[in-house]
């Protein structure tokens, strides 16, 4: 049985070795254990052993059970994992719904224009930071710049690496009309969101403004606009989110579970 490596990035950061396929791992982690609660999960496949982790122990312990069942999880680390893994080894990223269905986002490559400046960039970005910190922020920087800014050692409050998603912005009731599915972003937080946007627009020197310190439980995949980004300085990985039409054709069941359809 092949051993796979998974980096879970949301809601907790961990490096896990497992003999399950990504789909089975997704189902097991979200709903498959008696102890488990139903919650959304994001993880990345790691293609190669790297970083300062106990690889030897993992090889020894991640073996099938006596009755032949595969080993479902062996935790290598649960702290500061992302920053210690080589970006080159990052594979596909999986968005798992709270009922265990998963959508694989293909990794196109490191760097590149689309990561720097989305086609529909309108001067304001709303970002949900996924790992290692979790706030919801607005910024007048496009995703690539924002990632570089947040991971720059020159920045007083930086992290070594940052995984985040850009979200759709809804600030008027009209924008919440049919099809927008803005979920928890609408309503009570709308006025606050508007004031945060105004603040970063007026103070261009302000790199980012926190909208919500912890947006973990209310974050939903339906809010993701272009995709998920992983930045480390000038390096940037981008996993594009399929369009709604494409999701409808290829991942309708996942879309229903994610409350997109």
């Amino acid at each position: 049985m092949q051993t796979n490596l998974y980096l879970t990035v949301f809601p907790m950061e961990a490096l896990i070795a497992s003999q399950l396929s990504p789909e089975a791992f997704a189902a097991y982690m979200s709903v498959g254990a008696r102890k488990g609660s139903a919650e959304a999960l994001i993880f990345i496949c790691i293609n190669k052993e790297n970083g300062p982790f106990c690889w030897e122990e993992a090889r020894q312990k991640c073996v099938p059970h006596a009755d032949g069942r595969p080993k479902r999880s062996f935790y290598l680390s649960i702290h500061r994992v992302l920053e210690n893994l080589d970006l080159e080894t990052m594979g596909d990223l999986y968005l798992v719904t709270r009922d265990g269905r998963c959508l694989a986002l293909q990794r196109p490559g490191i760097g590149g224009g689309e990561c720097q400046m989305p086609e529909d960039w309108d001067g304001i970005g709303l970002y949900k930071e996924l790992c290692p910190v979790h706030p919801l922020v607005v910024s007048c920087r496009p995703p690539g710049d924002f990632g570089a800014y947040m991971t720059s050692p020159d920045n007083r409050v930086s992290v070594p690496s940052l995984l985040f998603a850009d979200l759709r912005i809804v600030t008027t009731p009209e924008q919440s009309q049919v099809g927008s599915r803005v979920g928890t972003l609408f309503d009570r937080r709308m006025e606050h969101l508007k004031s945060c946007i105004e603040e970063v627009q007026q103070r261009r020197d302000k790199g980012a403004k926190i909208v919500d310190r912890s947006y973990a439980s209310r974050f939903s995949y339906g809010l993701i606009k272009n995709g998920v980004y992983l930045c480390r300085g000038q390096q940037c990985l981008f996993w594009p989110m399929p369009s709604r039409d494409s999701l409808k054709e290829t991942a309708y069941d996942w879309g229903r579970s994610a409350e997109i359809f």
Partner: protein, 727 residues
């Protein structure tokens, strides 16, 4: 008249058979789809079989009481009524469980909304045609055999007769008892089907939603949800069999209210200065049946027209079209028939103010009133209009305000239909006296066949959506079935408006007959007048108690749903906790266990509410006497109409308010507003699908039971005995 009646029944049941064969001839889809459909069929069959077995025990008891206390003719008519209602419900449900998978497969094969709509409507039309056909068949048999052949309709027989066992003081008009027996048979089945089906469907629905959707986060009809098959079975036993029996009962109730009233009036006016002639009697009894027959034929034409042409992709327009076509044809055909039927009659002496047109005009008033009440229901329950949007908007502020706004919407929705009903009663009475009011009720339900067809199509489409989801068919299929289902929700709310409106009008006619029956021989006195003395303390007290009765009835029903739903919630939670493989899709859940829980819950809980309806007039009658029961009927009728309108429309507004949010407004799915709206919908579910529809059956069961038994408790009651003892 007989020819038209036979032609209508043969045409309706013949077309039902043809449509049934066409439905069966459609391809049932993949193995997986067929396996799911089979599980639904087996669950529905098993429940209805068990339910009918339970009802049979109670029906035999009622049969014996009727045979001993009233007459064997009433007892036989009761059996015919119960058989007609049960048969229509069974056929409708059977067809729906065969049609659901074929609708899903048609959507899969053609990806055409119009083609799929046609199969769904075909399935629904079998139920509609069975309801119209069996209701008229049974009534025709009862009237022909007991009325004509056995002579109960002969003028000399339309007088007060003693009990066949010679029990002193029990005196009634035999024909009125026989047709009332027929109506009671229909009502008993309708009550059990509605209450039992209502508890079943809502327990399953709430169990599936509260744990599957809310706690586990799985979508509607996901095969991993243990309660999903039970939920789909519930649609068939509650929304198909229950609805069919309910509307058949409403239709029959409206018909017999006119027949009983005419019989009572004939007896009452026999000694007056202007007695009703035998010819007039015959015509006034025949006209409601003729009206029903022509209405049924119009529906046959309407349904056939819809099925032979190519359907557009606009289901709402198509369904409205067939309803309107049937209504217009009914108006035209019955107008011509009225002109021919009453030509040469002295209509003024019968109390009609606009000549031959009077009974017809009253029925047309009923049709128009039904349409207006339906439109008002649509206004308050469709998210195209302000009230339901307001409920959705209130959800932004949390569940408490969703519920408050929904209650306000439901309460506001009552006054419109009530004003329409009041105006209809006044106008119908002006044109045709109390007979005119009964004709208005008949008019309102004259195209019941199409109403039921349209209403039944909804749960079939809903089931087809469930099967598509469980069989994981592609999104085009599910979009088609979702689209059809959405239209079904609105048509259901409109159908409920018709049922409630006609129940109110029929109850008024039955109430007038009750006063005639209460008077007994005195009704024939020249100075007899039809007066209910509300100042009488017994009548007033009866009205007060009667107004409270629907609340008790509703409370027990809601409690019954809650109890059954709690058991379902516990089972689903337990299955998920016991076996995580269910959620990962490795293991199939135990669907059968959930089906059994719903079934057992419904069968256990349905008896008390149904018995309240049957026994309360008897218990109060034997304690306080006929005047108290007169008040009781008025109080119950008024209170039940308000409560039925309120529950149906508030529930509809909560349901569609949630759907409005799900379509993307106020944050869409997953938003705070959506969570609040889901709570509102859950609160509204038992109100609109269990309580509301059962209340209009309650009114008629109480009226018919009172009518049948009034001559007994008018003579034998504790209150009279005590007061005579104290004097």
């Amino acid at each position: 008249m007989n020819v038209w009646l036979i032609a209508a029944v043969v045409a309706a049941l013949g077309l039902a058979w043809v449509n049934f064969r066409i439905v069966c001839g459609q391809q049932p889809g993949t193995d997986k789809m067929q396996a799911i459909a089979k599980a639904i069929q087996e669950g529905a069959d098993a429940f209805l079989r068990l339910q009918y077995r339970k009802i049979a025990v109670i029906a035999v008891l009622i049969l014996l009481v009727l045979a001993v206390v009233v007459s064997w003719q009433a007892a036989v008519a009761f059996v015919i009524g119960a058989s007609m209602s049960a048969t229509a419900g069974w056929i409708g449900m059977k067809t729906a469980t065969l049609a659901n998978v074929r609708v899903a497969n048609k959507a899969r094969e053609t990806e055409s909304l119009g083609e799929t709509l046609k199969v769904a409507f075909l399935g629904g039309s079998v139920m509609g045609l069975a309801v119209g056909g069996f209701a008229l068949l049974g009534l025709g048999v009862v009237v022909y055999v007991f009325g004509h052949l056995m002579g109960q309709m002969r003028p000399e027989m339309l007088t007060v007769h003693g009990n066949w066992l010679g029990i002193p003081g029990i005196r009634d008009i035999p024909f009125t008892m026989t047709v009332s027996g027929y109506a009671l048979g229909c009502s008993i089945i309708a009550m059990f089907n509605r209450v039992g089906g209502g508890i079943y469907t809502k327990a399953a629905d709430m169990g599936a939603d509260l744990v599957g959707k809310m706690e586990a986060g799985i979508p509607e009809d996901d095969p991993r949800n243990p309660a999903t098959i039970a939920d789909n079975v519930g649609d068939n036993v509650g929304d198909v069999a229950g609805l069919g029996s309910d509307l058949l009962e409403s239709y029959v109730g409206a018909m017999i209210s006119a027949l009983v009233l005419v019989s009572c009036q004939f007896f009452s006016r026999a000694q007056s200065a202007s007695p009703m002639t035998a010819m007039q009697l015959e015509k006034l009894i025949a006209y409601p049946l003729l009206f029903g027959a022509l209405g049924l034929l119009s529906c046959v034409v309407g349904i056939t027209t819809m099925l032979v042409r190519k359907m557009s992709n606009r289901p709402h327009r198509e369904l409205n079209g067939v309803t309107m076509l049937s209504a217009v044809l009914t108006i035209v055909f019955t107008g011509i028939a009225g002109r021919v039927f009453f030509s040469g009659e002295d209509m003024a002496s019968m109390g009609f103010s606009v000549g031959w047109m009077s009974p017809w005009a009253c029925a047309v008033l009923g049709i128009l009133a039904g349409i207006v009440i339906g439109k008002i229901a649509e206004y308050y329950t469709s998210f195209d209009f302000r009230p339901t949007k307001a409920v959705a908007e209130a959800s932004r502020e949390g569940a408490a305000l969703t519920i408050t706004q929904g209650m306000a919407c439901g309460m506001n929705s009552v006054i419109g239909p009530v004003l329409v009903l009041g105006t209809t009663i006044i106008l119908a009475h002006t044109f045709g006296g109390l007979y005119g009011v009964a004709m208005a009720a008949i008019g309102m339900l004259s195209f019941v066949t199409v109403t039921v067809s349209v209403d039944t199509y909804g749960p079939i489409a809903d089931n087809a959506g469930g099967i598509s989801e469980m069989a994981q068919l592609n999104h085009h299929v599910r979009e088609i079935t979702d689209n059809l289902d959405a239209v079904g929700n609105t048509t259901a709310a409109i159908g409920k408006g018709f049922a409630i409106g006609s129940a109110a009008l029929a109850a008024l006619s039955l109430f007038a007959s009750y006063i005639y029956a209460q008077a007994g021989d005195r009704a024939a006195a020249p100075d007899f007048s039809l007066i209910l003395n509300m100042i009488n303390t017994l009548t007033l007290s009866g009205a007060v108690v009667g107004a409270g009765l629907p609340y008790l009835f509703s409370g027990i029903l809601i409690e019954a749903v809650a109890k059954a739903a709690r058991r379902m919630v516990q089972e689903v939670r337990e299955q998920f906790a016991r076996n995580p493989g269910i959620m990962t899709g490795e293991v199939l859940p135990n669907y059968r266990q959930c089906v059994e829980i719903s079934s057992a819950g419904a069968l256990r809980e349905m008896k008390i509410p149904a018995l309240i309806a049957v026994l309360s007039p008897l218990v109060f009658g034997f304690i306080f006497g006929a005047e108290f029961v007169g008040g009781l009927l008025i109080g119950t009728t008024l209170s039940a109409i308000m409560l039925a309108l309120y529950t149906a429309n508030a529930g509809g507004a909560w349901d569609n308010g949630k759907k409005y949010i799900e379509s993307g407004h106020f944050g869409g799915k997953g938003s705070e507003a959506h969570k609040a709206a889901v709570i509102g919908d859950t609160v509204g579910d038992p109100l609109k699908d269990t309580v509301g529809p059962s209340l209009d059956i309650l009114i008629k069961i109480m009226s018919v039971v009172s009518l049948i038994s009034v001559s007994i408790f008018a003579k034998y009651n504790i209150y009279d005995w005590l007061t005579s003892f104290m004097r």
